[in-house]
């Protein structure tokens, strides 16, 4: 990777708060800051849980519709129910 490309990546990471930098002698040390990543993980976890709940609700709804349709059918043709 070229030096300017490294700079660009470090700048974006620093601005996003994912890394922090400090000077140590003649070196500059970049350190991963887990805070923003943990925030992201929490958000994704909550997002996933919500969708799981939504999908569970959808599944229940689909079963209910199928049952209702079956019941409606059997009301019209009671003989088919036993067939």
């Amino acid at each position: 990777m070229s030096r300017p490309a490294v700079s660009r990546h470090l700048r974006v990471l620093r601005q996003a708060g994912v890394v922090s930098d400090r000077v140590s002698g003649r070196q500059r040390i970049y350190e991963l800051q887990p805070g923003p990543l943990l925030e992201l993980r929490d958000w994704l976890d909550a997002f996933g849980t919500r969708w799981e709940l939504n999908l569970d609700a959808l599944e229940t709804e689909v079963h209910r519709s199928a049952r209702d349709r079956r019941l409606a059918k059997s009301d019209h043709n009671p003989e088919q129910e036993s067939a």
């Binding site: 030096r3 300017p4 490309a5 660009r8 003649r26 970049y30």
Partner: protein, 162 residues
């Protein structure tokens, strides 16, 4: 700024990357721009000698995130026409050769990067285009270019030559 057009050429055997720029000033002036610390600071790095070491200098890249420092070995210094340096491990021991040629009242600068195996020319090529345009802009007193205009836009120009 208009979109920069990539110019670099990879040698047939893939061992050398060459880029050229022409300046509307004399060779002494271009030599100063690539060798005097106050001038190199404008587009690349400030540098100073290391005490007791005739062949190496310490430089600090002033236009990069965090202004990283490094050490360069001067392999050849023949004013005003040839400079060969080897960068330190921090960016990968690159052997870089600058040659200046007077052409009337203009000067042609040629940068040759002697590529070690495993170097991704698609990465370093756009970096050099950017740095030579930094030099050109600094000498012309124009605003410095932005690396975003070079990478990844110029990547294919280099990888297609492999």
């Amino acid at each position: 700024m208009r979109t920069p057009i990539p110019t670099g050429k990879l040698s047939e055997d893939g061992s050398r990357l060459t880029l050229e720029r022409t300046f509307g000033v004399g060779i002494e002036d271009v030599w100063a721009a690539v060798s005097e610390p106050a001038r190199t600071a404008r587009w690349f790095a400030d540098w100073q000698p290391i005490e007791g070491d005739d062949s190496r200098v310490r430089y600090q890249m002033l236009h990069e995130e965090g202004s990283p420092e490094g050490i360069m070995t001067i392999e050849a210094c023949e004013p005003p026409s040839r400079l060969v340096v080897i960068t330190d491990e921090s960016i990968g021991s690159w052997r870089l050769e600058l040659t200046l040629t007077a052409e009337g009242d203009r000067t042609r600068l040629r940068l040759t990067h002697h590529l070690d195996p495993g170097i991704d020319v698609g990465d370093v090529g756009p970096g050099w285009e950017y740095y030579l345009d930094m030099l050109t802009a600094a000498e012309a007193g124009e605003p410095l270019p932005s690396f975003e205009d070079y990478y990844p836009a110029q990547r294919d120009h280099y990888t297609d030559q492999r």
